[in-house]
């Protein structure tokens, strides 16, 4: 991997740390949650020291993730507000998926797809956090009707969000030169120009 002094900084160390805390706790939440979701995933309880530990740990990981997520939300929401160009990008998303980005409109730091994903993840996260509370019998005692509704919402939004995160991870693998932005925070100028031209122009204009 080349590291050029001319590389552009995309994420600060504290932003990366923030994202990793959310990401790792999400994966652990997903594994521990899925273990209880369906018997096919029960073996995941072995990763957490058995079924009882899985049940105990899951909600505390949830609290950690929720706190880290709120900070991430404050940091990134402004950058993810949809603009007219983003909608144009969305309308051409087929071409993008086909691997042809020649006609895609110029994108800022995030493209329309990333922004839509941001908002879908936001709603899933909100539902998961809110519905997780009534399920947490160690600390809370809600009327059983609420708990039943919470169970449906929690497992449903978890399934949707796990699917969305799979898409998120795949997009990072598919677009070469992206993952390093989360490792050490920089991307090459060529990467920026190709995928986020408007951001590239802004990030390089002082020179």
């Amino acid at each position: 991997m080349q590291r050029d002094p001319r590389d552009l900084i995309r994420y600060t160390p504290s932003e990366r740390l923030n994202h990793w805390i959310v990401g790792i706790s999400f994966i652990l939440l997903g594994l521990s949650g899925l273990a209880l979701f369906h018997p096919a995933f029960w073996p995941f309880t072995l990763l957490f020291g058995g079924g009882t530990w899985t049940r105990i740990i899951h909600p505390y990981l949830g609290v950690l993730m929720a706190l880290a997520y709120v900070i991430m939300l404050i940091r990134f929401t402004r950058l993810n507000l949809m603009t007219a160009t983003d909608w144009q990008w969305i309308r051409r998303v087929r071409e993008m998926v086909d691997g042809d980005d020649h006609n895609m409109p110029e994108q800022g730091k995030y493209n329309g797809g990333q922004k839509i994903l941001f908002w879908l993840l936001f709603w899933c996260m909100l539902l998961l956090i809110l519905s997780g509370i009534p399920l947490w019998r160690t600390w809370f005692s809600f009327p059983v009707e609420w708990v039943r509704l919470a169970a449906v919402i929690h497992s449903g939004s978890a399934a949707v969000m796990i699917g969305l995160i799979m898409v998120h991870v795949y997009a990072a693998i598919w677009t070469k030169g992206t993952i390093r932005a989360m490792w050490y925070g920089t991307v090459t100028r060529a990467w920026a120009k190709q995928h986020h031209r408007a951001w590239y122009k802004e990030a390089t204009k002082e020179g």
């Binding site: 209880l36 018997p39 079924g51 980005d101 699917g163 190709q194």
Partner: protein, 290 residues
């Protein structure tokens, strides 16, 4: 604990058949509310046989004691003073697990083998497999299971599965001084109940009947009620109990569908990658920024 001599008709969080080679028959406990005098001998027998000792509470000014089921009180007498036909009646219902044929607790439980339904119809919790999530409480239409503070495990009436397995009747049945609780093959109990209902009809209880709610596939603990048309009179016994539709949605077909969706997304990613190739920076762009 698993009882070797009992077949297992259903097992929580298990997708393959459970051991069921033996030929058994369904059992039931019949509680005739018209014969109950509220002496609580059954509560005591339950504590004795199962080695349970609830905390000594305070007097709430009513006969109910303790006030609710707990991990140490698997059965409690619920006293209701009602006036269904304009004159006072004192209805006393022995509350506890109904041993549903279609148990919501078992349906909801995520831990393999923590809840089993034996071939004879008894629904039993195996605490050594229980993870303490409380999903059984969420699934139960009768609000029965309780999680213990001490060990975080769920407990409820076992219908004395350990006694039944060796041919004894449940402890509460054995002790009941008025014969209000009887135990035997489910068919026999249904017949016995029919006789009791006829007797009550003759004594002026036109609406007397058997409580064996079909919404949960019938139960293996049944009541003879003087007012079978108004089960709510008996400390809010549900009129038409069934597994809540939300629990069915939560535990139903949506889960296999979700798993299929995960598989589809993963495969779509793989095929996309091997058909379209990676999204790389083009050579021109690389030259432009040199």
């Amino acid at each position: 604990m698993a009882l070797q001599s009992l077949d297992i008709a259903a097992r929580s969080a298990t997708t393959t058949p459970s051991p069921s080679a033996r030929q058994g028959f369904e059992v039931a406990k019949l509680i005739d509310i018209s014969k109950c005098i509220g002496c609580k001998a059954c509560q005591v027998a339950c504590m004795e046989w199962n080695d349970l000792r609830d905390e000594v509470g305070i007097n709430h000014g009513v006969y109910d004691n303790p006030m609710d089921l707990t991990d140490q009180s698997w059965t409690v007498m619920r006293f209701s003073e009602v006036e269904p036909n304009g004159h006072l009646e004192w209805l006393i219902r022995k509350d506890g697990c109904m041993h549903c044929a279609d148990p919501g607790c078992l349906k909801a439980c995520p831990a393999p083998g923590a809840i089993v339904k034996y071939g004879n119809g008894i629904v039993d919790f195996n605490q050594e497999n229980c993870i303490g999530c409380g999903y059984c409480i969420t699934g139960c239409p009768f609000n029965i299971p309780r999680i213990a503070q001490k060990d975080g495990k769920a407990y409820k009436c076992t219908l004395c599965s350990d006694r039944v397995a060796v041919g004894l009747e449940p402890a509460c049945v054995k002790t009941c001084p008025t014969g209000a609780i009887t135990y035997g093959a489910k068919d026999d109990m249904v017949n016995h109940a029919a006789m009791r209902v006829r007797d009550l009809n003759e004594r002026g209880f036109a609406q007397a009947g058997l409580y064996d709610p079909p919404g949960v596939g019938g139960t293996h603990v049944m009541y003879v009620l003087q007012h079978a048309d108004q089960p709510g009179l008996y400390a809010n016994l549900p009129q038409d109990p069934q597994i809540d539709p939300l629990v069915s949605v939560w535990k139903g077909i949506t889960k296999p569908l979700a798993i299929a969706a995960f598989a589809a997304v993963s495969l779509a990613g793989l095929f996309h990658y091997i058909t379209k190739g990676p999204n790389e920076v083009s050579k021109e762009t690389e030259k432009e920024v040199e």
